[in-house]
């Protein structure tokens, strides 16, 4: 039950990069299409789940003074695994994501979760936490990529989805569009959570009044 909770909190409560404002660089850089966003997200999710589990397993051995360096080495190891695997099997995607694959090391999310969660929790819980947060990140990147691709290029996953006379907003695919689009998405998420909080407050108030 609690494992499920650790797993699902990554989808809304701690949804990166909106709730945890970490890992913005790949979010902005590679989300020019839905495919790139999903690829990057899944690569990060893999690294995050594996590094969380390994760090959690080693948490009693790693001296706290050098823990950050130790975490970085663990994360870097899995990044190299992803890098070589993608080079071998998904070469086209590897070329498109380019420098941002090695940069998963400094993505802050794996390191942040290692410090905040894996270094003080069990292996299974850490794995669930890493996988959940990683998949949440993948979903965010996929949605941002989808929005930018549909409006910026008029396509989805490379296939035309907008009507034929549609003039693509090329702005969205350029660097400034990435910032603006992410900013607007973050505002939208803030709006939804503000509504949720308000509704919850009203519900508790109503319950209190009835009692």
């Amino acid at each position: 039950m609690s494992l499920m909770k650790e797993f699902t909190k990554g989808f809304w409560e701690l949804l990166p990069p909106f709730r945890l404002v970490l890992g913005l660089c790949p979010t902005l850089a590679v989300t020019t299409s839905a495919e790139n966003g999903l690829g990057m997200g899944l690569a990060t999710a893999f690294v995050l789940a594996c590094s969380n589990m390994l760090i959690s397993a080693l948490r009693k051995i790693i001296p706290s003074k050098v823990r950050i360096a130790a975490f970085i080495v663990v994360v870097a190891t899995f990044v190299v695994v992803v890098e070589l695997t993608m080079q071998a099997y998904f070469y086209a995607l590897y070329v498109k994501l380019g420098i941002f694959i090695p940069l998963i090391v400094v993505n802050c999310i794996p390191l942040g979760r290692a410090e905040a969660f894996a270094s003080s929790n069990g292996v299974l819980a850490s794995g669930a936490d890493g996988l959940g947060i990683g998949l949440g990140f993948a979903i965010s990147l996929f949605s941002l990529g989808t929005i930018r691709e549909i409006f910026g290029a008029g396509t989805f996953w490379g296939a035309q989805v907008m009507w034929s006379g549609y003039e693509p907003m090329a702005f969205l695919l350029k660097a400034p569009g990435a910032f603006v689009c992410l900013g607007l998405m973050l505002a939208a998420i803030n709006l939804i959570s503000a509504r949720q909080a308000k509704r919850k407050l009203e519900a508790t108030r109503l319950a209190a009044a009835q009692a």
């Binding site: 913005l24 910032f179 503000a194």
Partner: protein, 195 residues
């Protein structure tokens, strides 16, 4: 490369291909420490120093250790370790010499390790096959571009404190939109360097 080429190279790295606004490297500290001008300046100086130094060290590691021993696939791990130890060193030096600045930067100094701009520039240096001097110039210019964008952004964000902002846009959301418009402004420099 002639002097003119170097000038173009520098302008390109500082303004046109600004590492922060055009290449999206180092955005977390960009949004994190840009709320006040003095921390932004401190962070910029630390970043310029670390990026240049890290660029030089990683370049030497690549050409004198990784390539001779044929272990280029360990590049990521080697580079991040070099950067992490360098940052630690800068932290110790800063703590001893400028404690005021050290207190102001607080937790962000160790975060330079995970500033993707540092590792990013180190990797770009290798990918573009720069020689030693080009590498130094490029690292320094990129870092200056980063500092420039960070300080400008902090200047804008200080004004937010006085403005009435819709609640949902407070904090990072408005920061991102502002960064978008700054990036748009910087893309106007593209005409300076012919393609």
């Amino acid at each position: 490369m002639s002097f003119g080429d170097y000038m173009l190279f520098i302008v390109g790295a500082v303004l046109v291909n600004n590492i922060l606004l055009a290449q999206f490297l180092g955005n977390c500290p960009f949004l994190g420490v840009s709320k006040r001008m003095d921390t932004a300046t401190g962070m910029s100086m630390a970043v310029v120093f670390v990026i240049t130094l890290a660029g030089a060290c990683t370049w030497l590691v690549q050409y004198y250790i990784l390539i001779p021993f044929n272990i280029e696939y360990l590049q990521t791990i080697f580079f991040i370790l070099v950067i992490a130890s360098l940052v630690q060193l800068v932290e110790i030096i800063m703590q001893k010499t400028v404690p005021g600045l050290y207190r102001a930067l607080g937790i962000y100094l160790p975060l330079i390790t995970t500033n993707c701009a540092v590792l990013g520039v180190a990797i770009i240096n290798i990918q573009k096959e720069f020689d030693f001097v080009q590498m130094l110039v490029f690292s320094f210019a990129s870092a200056v571009g980063y500092g420039l964008a960070l300080c400008l952004f902090a200047g804008i964000r200080e004004r937010f404190a006085l403005a009435r902002i819709p609640k949902v846009f407070e904090g990072t959301a408005l920061g991102l939109v502002t960064a978008g418009f700054m990036s748009l402004a910087f893309s106007g420099f593209a005409g300076l360097v012919g393609h």
